[in-house]
């Protein structure tokens, strides 16, 4: 019931708070934790322009590819830090970084890996995309089939 947890993170404080709950769930039988970061493909448009200014000779595709590669590498390193943080709880861990639309990838990976529970913060970094289309957490709840533990900031404010 709590055996395999999917922990999607955008590295926001809200997501960090959710990690604390995974530690607590050890006693409820959690054995395995998948740490997931989805690089929001909709951000590429912004980033590749910067990249192409830095390297004006490169093609658009090449610039975009470079951005994604850099982001995935950087975020994998960040996931690794989080993995270290829970290391002494002796969970079996797996790290996944992917590009895509976060809520869709989260639901897809939860299904593929047959996870028992998704643990995530109530609100992550809110870019312009999220303001327009609603939060990733809200959409995972509305469209996914896996139970979700939604955590809140410790000071109890609900913004």
């Amino acid at each position: 019931m709590f055996r395999k947890i999917l922990y999607p993170t955008d590295f926001s404080p809200s997501a960090k708070g959710a990690l604390e709950y995974i530690k607590k769930l050890k006693d409820a039988g959690t054995e395995e934790v998948i740490l997931l970061h989805v690089y929001d493909e909709r951000n590429i448009e912004v980033h590749w322009e910067v990249e192409s200014e830095l390297h004006p000779d490169e093609s658009i595709e090449r610039a975009k590819h470079e951005v994604v590669k850099k982001m995935l590498e950087k975020n994998y390193a960040k996931l690794k830090e989080l993995e270290d943080e829970i290391a002494h709880y002796n969970f079996k861990t797996e790290l996944i970084v992917e590009e895509g639309i976060p809520y869709q990838k989260i639901i897809e990976i939860a299904k593929q890996n047959d996870v028992s529970l998704i643990v995530m913060g109530s609100h992550g970094e809110r870019g312009i995309v999220e303001k327009l289309f609603g939060s990733t957490t809200g959409r995972v709840i509305a469209h996914g089939e896996t139970p979700v533990l939604v955590t809140k900031p410790r000071n109890g404010n609900n913004h």
Binding site: F2, D27, A28, P147, L149, T151, N158
Partner: protein, 145 residues
Amino acid sequence: MISRILLPTDFSEHSRKCFDYIIKLKDCGIEEVIIMHVVDLKIIRETDIIFDGEVDEDKVIERSIKQAEEKLKVFTEPLAENGLRISFLVKIGNPCSEIIRAADEMNVSMIVMGHRGHNLAEELLLGSNSEKVIRKSSKPVLLIK
């Protein structure tokens, strides 16, 4: 720590699904499970309209509360059998607001709720109760599908 849990229920199968999760969470240090039912005032008012004001609202409320208390006891027997300390709470009003308020007042560590699937029209018009609780409450919510 996860020491006190609030389980709001409408006596549906969806909320019965939460029992197994709560029993598992027992090992995380749960000391008390508060099982709550909210008598929806709006529905009682609607009944009143149907019967053209011939119904004594106070009496209907009183009877609904009594029924809910009895139902809660029977409904939650599986939890009691597992050695969890259980208390009951029946409120009258708007379910979402009452759940959010009770969670704060009783300082629970977590709200556990069943989540009904809903169709797009409902989603656009109302959003589900559980989604509202998640948005507005300051407490973590475990949503069971």
